[in-house]
Symmetry: C2
Subunit: 392 residues, 2 copies
């Protein structure tokens, strides 16, 4: 795993890159049946939330399964920020129905739930036992993803599952979680609600920024990250104005793919670590938690690697030439605030139900998150508490 390869010594500069097979473009989702059959599938577990079923995407995928003569069971008994018990129930369905392939149709929640179902059914263990890096003895069954948002989960080696008893999100990280195939159809994004669009699309931007500034970044992930920043930053405001224009959605979907390829291989940073902790506690949408912490995270990290952040600023269209470091920093953070304002995402932790008394607990959980390991600046518990307080 890449985590092993983070250089404390500058001698070791190894970087890994993994990636599922990707099909990108119009009607890509109609290949689900063909892929499931090629993987030797006979009975498919389709994992898909109710909104996506209602929007018709799951039905299209099921048609493609039936066209190949495959039978299927549909599992939709999960919520956003999928919970451990929802994963366990899904694994029961998988086993009871004798499934041999999983097709996830949906956003990050559906895909992470499907990843969890896969490893639970292959290993006959409780989902909470896989927490951390490389803790999966056997890979799950073949997993085909049809992403209908911009989560990046369809190409990533992460699954984030909520431990409801402890009100915490748990990150599971392993190469075996990279799906086998991602069928990326830009039209699927047209049926997101405006909140979902803003949350998950902004998250694609934050993922790319955290990947670019990660301690485990590499020239390959850098390229994907900068391209993603450019694509998301310019297309998301257009999508907010004209949500029905497929061309913007297509560019956004490409940006999201590139962001996913960047962060799955470079990992993330403090914003995601702190956001996971808030999301586990409040069940607020992941993208929104990230957006709330976004400017504070950049402010905390900027002076550690100013040149990297300046590149990000330039990818967002800023002209930083001739400015002092302090002014460059301010320009970038101001632009982030403006972006959040334009997206209607300038919110506080209070807005999602965090109380000042919760902060020490949130901070302890954030310190324990795997994304904290690759943040460019080492953060103490006190640092994290201070950032949460700023964002309150």
């Amino acid at each position: 795993m890449w985590i092993m390869a983070i250089p404390d010594s500058s001698l070791i500069k190894l970087r890994k890159f993994v990636c599922p097979e990707i099909v990108f473009g119009e009607e890509a989702l109609m290949l689900a049946g063909q892929y499931a059959k090629n993987f030797g599938g006979d009975r498919v577990l389709a994992v898909s939330g109710r909104n996506v079923i209602r929007a018709g995407w799951s039905g299209k995928v099921i048609d493609s399964l039936e066209d190949e003569g495959l039978s299927y069971s549909l599992y939709s008994d999960f919520t956003s920020n999928p919970k451990a018990e929802e994963v366990m129930r899904g694994a029961e369905v998988y086993n009871r129905e004798g499934c041999d392939v999983i097709v996830a149709v949906g956003g990050g929640s559906a895909i992470d739930c499907a990843k969890g179902i896969g490893i639970v059914s292959a290993n006959k263990k409780h989902i909470l036992e896989f927490k951390g890096v490389d803790q999966i003895p056997r890979p799950g069954p073949p997993l085909i993803c049809v992403p209908t948002t911009c989560s990046g989960a369809d190409v990533s080696q992460f699954a984030i599952i909520t431990d409801t008893r402890r009100k915490m999100k748990m990150a599971i990280v392993s190469k075996t979680l990279v799906p086998d195939t991602s069928l990326i159809d830009p039209a699927t994004n047209l049926t997101m609600s405006s909140d979902e669009t803003e949350d998950t699309d902004t998250d694609a931007l934050i993922q790319a920024i955290e990947a670019y500034t990660s301690k485990a970044s590499s020239p390959i992930t850098d390229q994907f990250a900068l391209n993603a920043i450019d694509l998301v930053f310019y297309n998301l405001p257009k999508i907010v104005k004209e949500p029905a224009v497929l061309d913007y959605r297509e560019k956004m979907k490409l940006g999201s793919l590139e962001s996913g390829l960047a962060f799955t291989n470079a990992s993330l940073g403090l914003i995601h670590a702190m956001s996971h902790s808030v999301g586990g506690f409040t069940d607020a949408p992941h993208g929104l938690c990230n957006a709330i912490l976004f400017p504070y995270g950049v402010k905390f990290n900027y002076d550690t690697i100013p040149k990297r952040y300046d590149k990000i600023g330039e990818a967002m269209g800023l002209d930083l030439k001739g400015l002092s470091q302090e002014k460059r920093k301010t320009a970038i953070i101001d632009l982030i605030w403006k972006f959040l304002d334009d997206m209607g995402q300038r919110r506080t932790l209070e807005d999602v139900g965090v109380d000042k008394r919760d902060i020490p607990r949130l901070a302890r959980n954030a310190m324990d998150d795997v994304c904290m390991m690759t943040n460019p600046r080492s953060a103490t518990l006190e640092d994290v508490i201070a950032i949460y307080e700023e964002a309150l």
Copy 2:
């Protein structure tokens, strides 16, 4: 396969992207044993040419196999432009020695030979029976590559094998030919001869250009291709001057990786189709055959997609603003000639043993090559004959 997805109708815009697991950096090759073991290997067939053995790279890889308690057999009985009978002999060794994993250490010839050995041993058929696109019923055993040149074969779904009886190269194209893992160690390039450096590194540039102008290009492959053009174009002249500087080699190796990821997913064009035909007939090095045909191929294609070629020119540092199409074309082709001169690669087909009488036969074979399908401009037999005559 992507070939299926080339749009005759503009309705279908599907693009596929596949990629092996990649480890890039210092001492990456020392992970060969660990990967071979993770793939369930017990006895490894190491495929490696004599020069690479002499340079010490195969020995290092063998050390890493032994460190993991794996036994191995070494197969080096093949030549550059590997021949069908060499592949068949390798498959005999693989079977006789009871191997279960293949590790290729070398340039494109070693890797293509290893790919051939894998599919022959898995399918019990003659290598010549796999010719064309998607003709491999069963995937081969796990294949780990340690590329010691800039061929891109370590990430590609191509294997090019010479049919000696017919004096032709045969392209085998299938997703199953994508290696499982590529361990890319920039230091391995330090032991190439200067001819090898110029041939294979120039080929990385030509691959990227043909991928960028391919009918099957996509936004993902475009990005890799343009980055590769930039990296190769600026670093190769530095390498020629100072071949022992690792930093240039590292950038070149990254450029080669990006070129490989571009061409394996976008395919190539007329230059490679015509070069395969020449290489099969004369056994001249693949990179050199490409270099000879390079400016003529660009000249033939330019007017079909001038904007794409202009982007390439800009990636090579040209300022084309305000120039007429004819002048832009000339500027790009002149720069290519200058580059070939600087590399000592301005040669003719006669130099590699082609006679005017051979041209009709070479042209017929080139027309039959899978790379011709994705050339941006349709070429007739007469067009191909005319280009060969120019390059004579």
